[in-house]
């Protein structure tokens, strides 16, 4: 059983107009096996939270803590965080020219586990995971995210989630831009990873439709850089019906 704790997190970015505070005291605790949904209006800082946990250099933590089983995550480099068991499925995965998917996956797996995976089982694992996500086998030889459609990029993120087996995954709008079939495929992938590895999930989304496929234990309303309210699944339905007006005006 592991715990990811975010305590009073304040984060700024440098903008053309100077330093801007985006996260204004986020508190959130996720335990292994729990699924947390984070919902909030555009620009409220959800991606900033995700990136800050992963350690993106653009974001500066000015106050607060992120602890993984009591260990200070903020002291770790981006790759150290990943090796410690944190995974971020990105809202906009970037293209990496010259690096094939198969080479990338193998290198990442080797980095995470500290040793090269046994070739035969690895090839089978990759093939199975790809077919589970209905990713064509020709993708192995393509460059990472290069020329992938929006939906293909999202599936590729979940492919990594399934193969790299992190302890905690932050999914930043993994459900956006997916049609109904793709949403089902991606959700099943997340559920598989959740069950197989007792994965803790922080799922950022705008829509309740994914919550029908991936059942959250907790729903957090995220407004203006912090958690404005938390509850169970029923809170998501209420948000869908009423919107965020109540929180934004407050």
């Amino acid at each position: 059983m592991a715990t990811l704790e975010i305590k009073n997190l304040h984060v700024t970015v440098e903008t053309d107009q100077g330093t801007k505070e985006i996260l204004k005291g986020v508190d959130l605790t996720i335990k292994s096996g729990e699924i947390h949904a984070v919902m909030g209006p555009n620009g409220s800082g959800k991606s900033t939270l995700a990136y800050s946990i992963a350690g993106h250099p653009k974001y500066t933590v000015t106050k607060g803590e992120i602890l993984l089983d009591g260990e200070n995550v903020l002291d770790m480099s981006v790759d150290e965080r990943a090796r410690a068991g944190l995974f971020l499925a990105m809202q906009y995965p970037v293209e990496i020219p010259g690096v094939s998917v198969s080479n990338f996956l193998r290198t990442a797996k080797t980095a995470i586990t500290g040793e090269a995976p046994a070739l035969r089982t690895w090839i089978k694992d990759v093939r199975d995971a790809m077919s589970g996500l209905k990713i064509d086998s020709t993708f192995s030889e393509r460059n990472v995210n290069e020329g992938f459609s929006g939906g293909e990029k999202k599936r590729h993120e979940i492919l990594q989630l399934e193969l790299l087996k992190p302890r905690f995954a932050i999914l930043d709008e993994t459900d956006s831009g997916l049609d109904v079939d793709a949403l089902k495929i991606v959700s099943e992938g997340v559920n598989r990873a959740h069950q197989a590895n007792d994965l803790g999930v922080l799922m950022i989304t705008h829509y309740t439709r994914i919550l029908k496929c991936i059942k959250p234990d907790f729903v957090h309303v995220f407004v203006d850089g912090k958690v404005a309210e938390q509850g169970g699944e029923e809170l998501a339905d209420q948000l869908e019906a009423e919107g965020y007006d109540r929180y934004v005006k407050a």
């Binding site: 992963a54 350690g55 993106h56 250099p57 480099s77 981006v78 790759d79 965080r81 990943a82 090796r83 995974f87 971020l88 990105m90 995965p93 970037v94 293209e95 990496i96 020219p97 010259g98 690096v99 094939s100 080479n103 990338f104 290198t107 990442a108 980095a111 995470i112 460059n143 990472v144 990594q160 790299l164």
Partner: protein, 389 residues
């Protein structure tokens, strides 16, 4: 010295073109075997515009020393290698210098290294010519390769050590012959190398021509391939990696002067560090006679850091409409922080991320040489360069 090297006295043919006339038409470039026919090199000349003359380390002077003891090889029955007098009628039959340094190489190399692949020879092992320099005096070297009819061979020309070399490599690929030639430039710091390659491809022949440039302050290669018979094919590949202060330049040219020939030009380069500079000028000319031509040229550059610069210019001159296909592409991209973040977010260290990207990018070209031992060696050179940054 003539006021312009473009005078008719050296038998230069003038061509007429359609209504669109680019600044300088590739096919009109003057050529001569005499240094004095070329003006002093200046960045104002299109051919040398990316360089300062002092980067040539004296290779543009009238008088150069000669390489001979620096060159090592093993001659066999199938592939005879020997020094001949440069007055031999074969020398200069494949290509005539188109720039001052090539002319200096031509004039000053009194001997030419002749490499003859015997008719119908099937040569399994790669033939290696090693050029290991150990002094900086500007020098000349002339190599003449002939792949006789129906032969099939692989030739590796490796340049290393500290040297300043003006070089000509003539490559005569006869009917139905197959030649795979790789020129490796891995000079020590302080070296400059300017090399003009001229290849002629006769009927149904095949040439794979690769250059791999990694070491040397300046390496400039101008590989010219001319189709003289129908049905021939050339694959021109290039791979280069410029670190801080290095200038690596390649100007491949394919002259489709015969019908139904195919050319593929693929050059890829990586750059890192301040004032790492690469230049790629890829010219393809499809002459009136060259019906059924199929050509594609591509250059890609990967900039790993700030302060590096990649110039990339593809040119296509088409004089006939009856072609199979003609295309080109050029792109120079940055390896940016978002890419680095993505890889790191998957547990990969910064160093490994850079290695992954650069090797992934370059190894594809290395592998096209088809020489496993060479692929391994060149891969480790790339890794070393990455590590040394």
């Amino acid at each position: 010295m003539s006021d312009s090297p473009k005078t008719a006295q050296h038998g230069l043919a003038e061509h007429t073109h359609g209504s669109f006339v680019p600044l300088q038409i590739r096919s009109d470039r003057p050529s001569s075997k005499s240094v004095s026919d070329f003006e002093a090199i200046s960045p104002l000349q299109d051919l040398w515009r990316y360089l300062q003359p002092d980067q040539l380390n004296g290779l543009d002077s009238d008088v150069l020393g000669e390489y001979e003891s620096e060159v090592s090889f093993v001659s066999t029955d199938d592939v005879k290698i020997s020094w001949i007098e440069s007055t031999d009628s074969r020398v200069g039959s494949i290509g005539v210098p188109e720039d001052r340094v090539a002319a200096a190489a031509y004039t000053n190399a009194s001997k030419t290294l002749l490499i003859e692949v015997a008719e119908s020879a099937e040569v399994k092992e790669p033939v290696v010519i090693k050029i290991a320099a150990n002094h900086p005096a500007p020098s000349a070297l002339h190599i003449f390769v002939v792949a006789k009819k129906f032969s099939n061979a692989t030739l590796i020309v490796e340049h290393m050590g500290l040297g300043n070399l003006a070089e000509i490599i003539e490559i005569d690929v006869q009917d139905e012959a197959k030649l795979n030639i790789v020129s490796v430039q891995n000079w020590d710091k302080g070296s400059a190398h300017v090399s003009a390659h001229f290849s002629k491809l006769a009927r149904n022949s095949f040439l794979k021509h690769s250059i791999a440039s990694f070491g040397g302050d300046l390496v400039r290669i101008t590989p010219v391939t001319t189709f003289t018979g129908p049905g021939a094919e050339v694959e021109m590949n290039g791979v280069y990696f410029a670190s801080a202060g290095q200038h690596l330049e390649n100007r491949p040219f394919v002259d489709h002067a015969a019908p139904n020939c195919k050319s593929r030009v693929t050059y890829k380069g990586a750059l890192q560090g301040n004032k790492a500079h690469t230049v790629w000028i890829g010219d393809v000319l499809i002459r009136v006679v060259a019906e059924g031509t199929d050509t594609y040229e591509l250059n890609r550059n990967l900039l790993l850091t700030d302060g590096a610069r990649a110039d990339s210019v593809p040119n296509l001159e088409i004089e006939t409409g009856e072609i199979e296909g003609a295309g080109h592409a050029s792109a120079s991209g940055r390896f940016d922080d978002e890419q680095l973040f993505y890889l790191q977010a998957r547990g990969i260290t910064v160093d490994d991320a850079r290695r992954l990207v650069v090797l992934g990018f370059l190894v594809d070209i290395l592998q096209r040489t088809g020489v496993e031992e060479l692929v391994e060696r060149l891969t480790s050179i790339v890794e070393e360069k990455l590590g040394s940054y």
